[in-house]
Structures are given as structure tokens and as C-alpha cells.
């Protein structure tokens, strides 16, 4: 984990007067530069908020340019002349657009063929892997169904036709083909292709010998009984819906926050409240999208978290910094680890912080007003631990058995969460060779303990 801090300075008028290279590049890609108003809306709003409150605030920062999303943690320190920015954990990821070459689609394995067809299933490409027999001559322009002689499944359906109707991915389409070595059973899978106008243009996929189907499919199938037959069980669909929702939701939230915060001038109080409700609902939906994206990621076969050298004490203090204001709104005091409390461990910085934010967020959400939350770090043998304890209503033994289940909200129906947070948190902990456990009794609050491999 890089502990590099990206710094910047804003004057009283909201002009960026100095910035380290990453921040300056982002500002420039947003069409501005030094000595120009801060052109990153989310950051500008946070700066305005910190200046208005005249106190330090730490928040997650989301920004984007035309080819990547940026996630970071920002601390804003206002003063009489403006504000200083300290941005840490700066992470970028490319914007995954569904039209992008389908990275998730396996290229033709050595023993298979890669193919592409147009919207009427006419083959426009057919190429053999290095160990595969050459494609039959004269494949050009022939129908996929003609060349491959598609076979119906047990219910008499054709996966490729269903996919054609839905313009969706498909797999496990059985077929037979005349190859150099004789008639061979093969299995087709493919992803839909779209042009810039959103029009369906065909499929691209692979054809694997039937006996290698299991191996090929292992990287693609994410069918999950919890999702049933929802297309969310499909990773391609998941990526598409993730990309399609995140942008609009972020814009809704940003606009609603602008209205709610009355940054552009006073409006009627009830309107501001409505806008606050919209922002709240938007954040909830965005959280759900994040959770589903996380879920798909961590349930991918072979998912493994990074092994950064981290300090659970430092991460706990960062989590408190991020959620401290939310706790203050309920009059909740957080007793965080002291600066010299350290618990060196191995784990992925970002993922551990995600787990801690989930635990602390839950504790704040379900704690009574004017209560206390403790966070302690410790070491037990070869394990480093961090415990988040609250004074909420607690969790019964029966509930403890299911609290880490997917979509489990212990009967709550408020809009506070998706029911995926603790499930994801435990999966993440275990992916880092750690664990997440709960200890609680009704009326006595709850103690969640994250343990990870300790380091010396």
C-alpha cells in the first residue's frame, strides 16, 4: 500500500492555487488548471462544506475523467485563507464500458476456436487456437446454426436463440461440427456486441471441444442460487448494469446534494429537505450497486486479496475519521485506538478499510443516540485483531447464526443497507486468510472482531 499523500490548496474563492501532479492532472482533464476554480464537483462541494463548517472533514472522494474512475480518501482542513487538501489511498480504475472488448470473455483456448457472427448469426470470423484443428473451409458468411448444427437442451430450447432474443450472453450451447478429425461435439458460448448507437451487432465467443467444456465454463459461470434466474448471476450483465447505474446515480446524488446544501443560494427549506431525501436514497442505491459489484468480484473463482503490510490501528483511525461526523450527528462518541496503538498485520489496505467502514457504519446505524462505540486493536498469537463494539440492542444467538448470510437484515426493513455488507465483509476477511466473528447478547450491544495474520 502506498501511503503517499496527494496535496492541494484552495483559496477562499474556491480556486485551486497549488496541487500535486495527480490532482492537477485530474483538474486539467476536467478542463481547468491551476489558478482556476476547482473543476471536480464532488471535491468542490466537500471543500465548500468544510469551509462553511470551519472544521476538518474526511470523506471518500469519487471523481472521474473520461477514461477512469478515481476513488480516494480526502481530508480537508479549512483555514482563514481557504483550505488544504490531503488525499490518500488514491486509486483509479478504467471505466468499464460494456462496448469495450469483453475482457471477461476467454480468448480461444489452445484447443478451441474463437468466432464472431453478425446480428443474423452469419459468421464473420472463425479462428483456431494453436492446438485446435483448422476451421472447415468455406465458413465465411455461413450461419452459426448451419455450421455448428446446434443441439437443443433438455427442455428443447436453444441457448443461442434465447440470447439472441434477449441480446444477452449465452453459454453451454451444445453443437456438432464436421472437423478435420471427423464429427465432433462442441460447446459454444458468446457475448453480445453493440455498436455506438446501442444497436445489437452480433455475438463474439468461443467454441470448445465438449470434453473441455467444464474447464472453460469454470471461469464464466457465476450462477448463484441466491440470485435465482436473475441475469445478475451473469458477470457480463453485472458489469453492464454496474456501469449503466453508477454514472446516473452519482449525478443524481451530486445534484441533489448541491440543492440540499443550498450551495448555489437559499431555497425553501422543505425543497432542500426533499433534495436531501433524494440524495439519501441515491446513496443507498449506489451502495447497493457497490455491494453487488463487490459480490460478483469476491465470488469469482480464484478471487484473492492483496497482501499489503498494514496496521489495523491506523486503519481503524482512518475509518473513524471517515465516519466521525456521521456519529456526531447522533451524538455518538467513538473511542478509537490511540495513535500509538498498533496492530501490524497482512491484508489488502482498501479491503480492510472497507470491512472496518462496514462494521463502524453498522455500529453507528444501530446504536442509540448519545451512546459509545469502542474500537480496540490487539494481538493474539499469530493473529492481529480489531474489535468494534457498540451499545445497541445486540444480536441473539439465533441471529448470530445468520447475520453473515447474504441479504440477511435481521428483520429490518429500513433503507439502511442491502443485507450484503456483513456477508461481503466476512468473505473479504477470509480471502485475506482472516476471519470476522460476532459476539453479542440481546440488550448488551454487539462486538464484531476482524482477525488477520499478524506481522512482526
Amino acid at each position: 500500500m502506498s501511503a503517499r499523500i496527494v496535496r492541494g490548496r484552495i483559496d477562499r474563492a474556491g480556486t485551486l492555487v497549488s496541487a500535486d501532479a495527480p490532482l492537477l492532472r485530474l483538474q486539467q482533464r476536467a478542463g481547468a488548471g491551476l489558478e482556476k476554480p476547482l473543476a471536480l464537483p464532488h471535491l468542490a462541494r466537500l471543500v465548500a462544506l468544510a469551509q462553511r463548517l470551519q472544521r476538518d472533514i474526511s470523506r471518500p472522494l469519487h471523481a472521474a475523467d473520461d477514461h477512469s474512475d478515481v476513488h480516494a480518501l480526502v481530508r480537508i482542513i479549512p483555514d482563514a485563507d481557504g483550505a488544504s487538501l490531503e488525499i490518500s489511498d488514491w486509486r483509479t480504475r478504467p471505466v468499464a464500458q460494456p462496448q469495450a472488448p469483453p475482457h471477461g470473455t476467454p480468448p480461444a483456448a489452445a484447443g478451441g476456436w474463437s468466432w464472431e457472427c453478425d446480428a443474423r448469426l452469419r459468421l464473420i470470423a472463425l479462428r483456431a487456437g494453436v492446438e485446435a484443428p483448422p476451421p472447415p473451409a468455406g465458413w465465411e458468411g455461413r450461419s452459426l446454426s448451419e455450421l455448428f448444427e446446434l443441439q437443443p437442451d433438455g427442455d428443447g430450447h436453444f441457448a443461442v436463440l434465447r440470447a439472441l432474443a434477449r441480446q444477452a450472453p449465452f453459454e453451454a450451447q451444445s453443437a456438432r461440427i464436421d472437423a478435420a478429425g471427423g464429427r465432433a461435439a462442441t460447446t459454444l458460448s458468446g457475448d453480445p456486441l453493440f455498436d455506438a448507437a446501442g444497436g445489437f451487432t452480433g455475438f463474439r465467443g468461443v467454441a470448445m471441444p465438449a470434453d473441455s467444456r467444464r474447464e472453460d465454463a469454470s471461469g464464466r459461470s457465476l450462477a448463484d442460487p441466491a440470485f435465482g434466474s436473475l441475469p445478475l448471476s451473469d458477470p457480463q450483465f453485472g458489469r453492464r448494469i454496474d456501469g449503466a447505474l453508477r454514472g446516473p446515480l452519482s449525478r443524481i446524488i451530486a445534484t441533489a446534494e448541491t440543492i440540499s446544501g443550498q450551495f448555489d443560494g437559499p431555497i425553501r427549506a422543505d425543497y432542500a429537505r426533499y433534495a436531501g431525501d433524494i440524495a439519501h436514497a441515491g446513496r443507498h442505491l449506489l451502495g447497493l450497486v457497490d455491494d453487488l459489484a463487490d459480490l460478483q468480484n469476491i465470488e469469482r473463482p480464484g478471487f484473492k486479496a492483496a497482501r499489503d503490510e498494514i496496521d489495523l490501528g491506523d486503519l481503524a483511525r482512518r475509518a473513524v475519521g471517515l465516519l466521525g461526523m456521521k456519529a456526531e450527528e447522533k451524538g455518538i462518541r467513538i473511542d478509537a485506538p490511540r495513535t500509538d496503538d498498533q496492530a501490524p498485520a497482512y491484508g489488502e489496505f482498501r479491503r480492510v478499510l472497507q470491512v472496518l467502514l462496514n462494521l463502524l457504519g453498522n455500529a453507528i446505524r444501530y446504536s442509540p443516540e448519545n451512546s459509545l462505540i469502542w474500537i480496540r486493536v490487539d494481538r493474539e498469537d499469530d493473529r492481529a485483531t480489531v474489535t468494534v463494539a457498540d451499545q445497541g440492542q445486540g444480536i441473539s444467538v439465533d441471529q448470530q447464526a445468520v447475520v453473515f448470510e447474504k441479504f440477511e437484515r435481521l428483520g429490518r426493513t429500513d433503507s439502511g443497507g442491502s443485507g450484503l455488507g456483513l456477508y461481503i465483509a466476512r468473505r473479504l476477511a477470509r480471502a485475506m486468510d482472516g476471519d470476522l466473528v460476532v459476539d453479542s447478547a440481546p440488550g448488551q450491544g454487539a462486538r464484531f472482531t476482524l482477525s488477520l495474520p499478524a506481522r512482526d
Binding site: Q99, A100, P107, S114, E116, S145, A165, F194
Partner: protein
């Protein structure tokens, strides 16, 4: 250039030093010009490698393309200057298409109502459904275009699309390398000579992307649908189809037209695409897409070495005081 790089009495510089000095000379000749990015270099090198392997396979299946490439990489590619333009053009086209795909709008996902009961309702598209000449032309173009990527989706140059002179030169260079590798001449030379002639004859009979482009263009012209189709290719960001139409309209090769379009000043696009009769407004997505391509090379400006004297003379004429009596 080489005589400038070799100091008297020291002999020719080594290949790495010579390459560096040449690069430096190129830089000094045009310090204001943008250099190739690592991505552009890597793409072009990969395209060249795949081309060499494909040509070698046509010449002699026993040639190990990895050994050949390693030798050529160490010693420098023979005919590098001939290869530069097609490899650069293909690499830039690939970058453009990749970038355009990344920026494309999310696809329209059919609503459940639209797909309800639609499962297989339409059945398998009819195999023998009649196709118009336009459809056939576009299908052939797509097939020719997809031959310009390998099985892993990497860009390459199809042998069928190669300029015959370049193909011949590559075949001869590879044949010469093969002869040296085998260490024998005579019968082997004759066999390779036959193989070169056979490969050239086979390539001459292949219809590449230029033929497909011309066929589609003719079909569209015959139906009076050229302008509409060209505008649609722009709206759909179907850049290979647009390049193909423009190339056919100008009677130029696809690769040349790709390079011309990709390096054109924005202001030059309307005249460049005038033969397609595309409405000026319809060009906007094309202009935007090209403008957004990072590291794009814009042609025009600057004078070549040999024009330097002419440039100075022209400048002198502009600044020279008028002769007496003409003021």
C-alpha cells in the same frame, strides 16, 4: 545519414548506438514533433511480428517464426522503412477503434416486457434468407476486416491486404534468412524460389479488404444509398466501414485511407469525405472521436530536410525589402 553517424577512424557504430543516434537525429530534426508513445511502438511491433510470422508460414511451414523474429529483432528488421507505414496505420486504426469502443454509449438493454415471450419466438434466422448486394458487400467487408485480427483479438495485417511489392520483399527477405539458417544453397534456393512464386500467385488471387470495400461501395452507389450508409457508419462508430467507403471512393488502398483519415486535420475531413456526400453535421461524431484519440499524429506543417533550402528561400523572399521603385 549513416556517414554523419560514423566518426572517421572509428568504423560504423554498433546497432544499438546507431539506433540511438538515428533517434537523436530524428529528434533534433523535429524537436517540436510528438514522439511515438510506448503503446504505439508496442502495437506496431506486434503487428510487424504477426505479419512476418504469417508470411513465413506461407513461404515454408518448417520455418520457426520465433527464431526468425528473434534474429530480425537483434539485427534490425530488413525493409523496416517499407513496413513502417502499414504497421503504423494498422496500429493507429486499432487504437482508434479501441478508444471509440470504450467511449461508446451503453447498449440498450431490452426491457423484460420486450423480451417476455421473445425467447426463441423468432426462431433461427433463416439460412437461405435472400441477401441484397449491399448486404453481401457489407458481410464480405466484415469478414475481410476480422481477418485483420488474430485469434486473441490482436491487430494484424492480413496477407491478402498487403501491397504486392511489400509482400514480395518480405518473402525474399525471409527466403534469404532461411537459406542462411539452413546453410545450404542450390536445391533449397530453387525450392524457396518456387515457394515465393507460389505465394505471390496465391496472394494475387485473394480478395482482401480493398476488394470488399470496392464491392460494397459499388452496391451502395447502384442503389443510391451511399450517403445514407456513410452517415450510418459514422453514427455507429463503424470506423472500418467508413474507411472502406472512403478508400473505395478515392480509389485508394484501405491502409492508406486509414492513415489519411487518422492524421487529417479536423478542417480537412469534409473535403476528404466529400465523395461520400455525407452531411456536414453527420461528421461531428467522427471529428469528436478523432479529436479524443490521445497521441494522434496530425499531418501537415514542417518541411523535410531537402526542402530546407527552398523554405529559407521562401522566407527570405517574404522578408526581403522590395526592389527599388516598387514601394
Amino acid at each position: 545519414m549513416r556517414d554523419l553517424l560514423a566518426s572517421p577512424g572509428t568504423g560504423l557504430p554498433s546497432l544499438p548506438l546507431s539506433a540511438r543516434l538515428k533517434e537523436m537525429a530524428d529528434y533534433l530534426a523535429a524537436p517540436g514533433a510528438a514522439r511515438l508513445t510506448e503503446e504505439q511502438r508496442a502495437l506496431a511491433l506486434g503487428i510487424a511480428r504477426r505479419l512476418v510470422a504469417d508470411v513465413a508460414a506461407r513461404l515454408d511451414a518448417a520455418i520457426d517464426p520465433a527464431t526468425l523474429w528473434l534474429d530480425w529483432i537483434e539485427g534490425g528488421l530488413p525493409g523496416a522503412e517499407r513496413l513502417a507505414a502499414p504497421c503504423f496505420a494498422r496500429a493507429e486504426e486499432h487504437r482508434w477503434r479501441e478508444q471509440s469502443a470504450l467511449r461508446a454509449a451503453p447498449p440498450r438493454i431490452p426491457s423484460p416486457e420486450e423480451t417476455a415471450g421473445a425467447d426463441e419466438a423468432d426462431g433461427m434466422p433463416a439460412v437461405d434468407a435472400p441477401m441484397t448486394d449491399i448486404d453481401r458487400g457489407y458481410l464480405a467487408l466484415q469478414i475481410a476486416d476480422r481477418r485483420r485480427t488474430d485469434a486473441l483479438g490482436n491487430p494484424c495485417i492480413a496477407v491478402a491486404d498487403l501491397d504486392a511489392d511489400l509482400f514480395r520483399a518480405l518473402l525474399l527477405d525471409i527466403a534469404a534468412w532461411r537459406l542462411v539458417e539452413l546453410g545450404k544453397a542450390g536445391a533449397e534456393a530453387a525450392r524457396l524460389g518456387d515457394a515465393v512464386r507460389a505465394a505471390l500467385a496465391a496472394q494475387a488471387g485473394e480478395a482482401g479488404i480493398d476488394a470488399a470495400a470496392a464491392r460494397w461501395h459499388r452496391a451502395l452507389e447502384a442503389e443510391g444509398a451511399l450517403a445514407e450508409a456513410a452517415a450510418a457508419t459514422i453514427a455507429r462508430h463503424d470506423w472500418p466501414a467508413l474507411i472502406a467507403l472512403a478508400a473505395a471512393a478515392h480509389r485508394r488502398r484501405y491502409g492508406e485511407m486509414a492513415l489519411t483519415l487518422l492524421t487529417a486535420e479536423t478542417a480537412a475531413l469534409p473535403s476528404l469525405l466529400a465523395p461520400l456526400r455525407v452531411d456536414r453535421m453527420a461528421l461531428a461524431p467522427l471529428e469528436a472521436s478523432l479529436t479524443l484519440l490521445p497521441g494522434r499524429t496530425i499531418s501537415g506543417g514542417g518541411a523535410a530536410d531537402e526542402d530546407y533550402a527552398a523554405l529559407l528561400a521562401a522566407r527570405a523572399e517574404r522578408v526581403a525589402p522590395p526592389p527599388d521603385g516598387e514601394a
